[in-house]
């Protein structure tokens, strides 16, 4: 959501829409999306100082920055000038390009210090990517707003490591949000069959995929017998069965006093919005909101104080309390 309460919306197909006062405007000059499988135009975020600099950030599956066939997740920044992107910059491109069609990530969030975080899924190579710090994929990354690598990133001194990595051992994070009070970066990620997780990402931490998981292969066979190992983080919460979480927001503000502080998570699989009440980093209550609304791809807490849901093939919904 922009400061004027209009919406910037990404479409999987690669287009970006500016929805203002009931009219959809197509944003031009979007870089070419590598459209395959789950790939598309994905995450979007505003620069913390957007009101002055008009910079936006977005992730898409892309073939750029490599001669290899296929694609991987790319992070761009650009200036939003009317309904055109100008000064488009590639800030990061995960490598290698691959024709594998799954697990691109990818969400973008700024923390209170101005660091930018974004996620890249394991790109369908769980045994190669998430646990290997020299490879992209299965990671949460941290950059400065201009794409440079912070000197205090956890692996800048590690030989051969991808210096932009902030945390690793992730499967496919498609939810990321800054906690409104603590400022911590929370993520959730799709597990395989079972074992979707909520995590609070910490510098250098290993979230275990696929060495530890509460999930199984889609065929029902075992991935690993381990759900915990030394040096690997336990999730704050895990879902069995998987809800296929997508989008993540904390409720704050004046509009929903009974939901204050709740965590909202979209469910692609069961087509509802989940509200979780969390106390002392434990989930103490869960409920379904907007049952059967459709595949909830994203949820945001808008600057206008309202909750907005993006639902696949339907559109964007606003939650308005009954008066």
């Amino acid at each position: 959501m922009l400061p004027d309460y209009s919406l910037l919306i990404t479409e999987k197909s690669g287009s970006m829409i500016h929805f203002k006062e009931g009219i959809k405007y197509e944003i031009s000059n979007i870089p070419q999306t590598y459209l395959r499988g789950q790939g598309g135009l994905m995450g979007i975020a505003l620069h913390p100082d957007f009101a002055n600099n008009k910079r936006i950030y977005f992730t898409q599956s892309s073939s750029v920055d490599s001669d290899e066939e296929g694609g991987n997740t790319a992070l761009f920044s650009a200036t939003l000038s009317d309904d055109e992107l100008t000064d488009v910059k590639l800030l990061y491109k995960a490598l290698p390009n691959t024709r594998v069609g799954r697990h691109f990530g990818s969400r973008i969030v700024f923390d209170n210090e101005g660091y930018l975080y974004f996620s890249v899924g394991d790109r369908g190579r769980r045994d190669d990517n998430p646990q290997d710090l020299t490879r992209d994929g299965g990671k949460v990354y941290r950059l400065h707003d201009d794409g440079t690598i912070p000197s205090d990133n956890p692996f800048v001194e590690t030989d051969g490591a991808v210096k932009a990595v902030f945390s690793y051992g992730h499967r496919n994070p498609q939810g990321m949000v800054r906690h409104p009070e603590t400022g911590a970066i929370w993520t959730h990620e799709h597990g395989p069959l079972g074992g979707d997780e909520i995590n609070i990402v910490r510098a250098g931490a290993n979230y275990g995929w696929p060495k530890i998981t509460y999930g199984k292969n889609y065929s029902g066979t075992t991935i690993t017998k381990d759900t915990a190992l030394p040096g690997m983080e336990q999730p704050l919460y895990y879902w069995i069965p998987s809800i296929a979480p997508s989008g993540m927001a904390f409720v704050s503000g004046e509009v929903y006093p009974e939901w204050e502080g709740s965590l909202l998570v979209g469910s692609l699989k069961f087509e509802y919005l989940e509200r979780l009440v969390i106390e002392n980093n434990k989930v103490i209550y869960r409920e379904k909101v907007a049952e059967d609304i459709g595949r909830v791809r994203d949820v945001i807490m808008g600057m206008d104080g309202y909750i907005y849901l993006a639902v696949e093939n339907k559109g964007v919904y606003k939650i308005v309390p009954k008066t």
Partner: protein, 130 residues
């Protein structure tokens, strides 16, 4: 005076068992696991209300529609085994060989059987962008 008319009946069909041993089927399984399984599930039964089954699905009787939907995706209501589904399957970006491979896999798994190996050429010929 009688003319002998020879009628040759060639056994032109291939057993599903043979298709299952083809390279195309093996590649199709990989494509399925990467692109299709998340929604249509490992057992091909899909997800009630959301994603139609591929196992014993009457939709697959129309081979042209099947191939077309795999290549270009689907949008809008369809009826499968008497149940209406109204959703979107985004185009997966598969090339024609991959479309052929995954079609062979789908048509010969979970109790499905077909008598004809789908080829890349058939995909080229049968499909038209909607």
């Amino acid at each position: 005076m009688s003319r002998l008319i020879f009628t040759f009946i060639f056994p032109v069909f291939v057993f599903a068992q043979d298709i299952r041993q083809s390279e195309s089927y093996a590649n199709g399984q990989l494509v399925y696991e990467d692109f299709c399984m998340l929604c249509h599930m490992a057992n091909g039964k899909g997800v009630p209300k959301a994603f139609p089954p591929l196992s014993n699905s009457d939709y697959l009787e129309d081979i042209k529609a099947t191939i077309n939907s795999i290549k270009y995706g689907l949008n809008g209501p369809i009826v499968v085994n008497g149940v209406k589904y109204n959703s979107v399957m985004a185009p997966m970006g598969l090339d024609d060989q991959e479309v052929a491979d995954v079609t062979n896999f789908i048509l010969n798994t979970w109790g499905n059987k077909s008598d004809k190996l789908i080829t890349k050429q058939m995909v080229e010929k049968l499909t038209t962008k909607q």
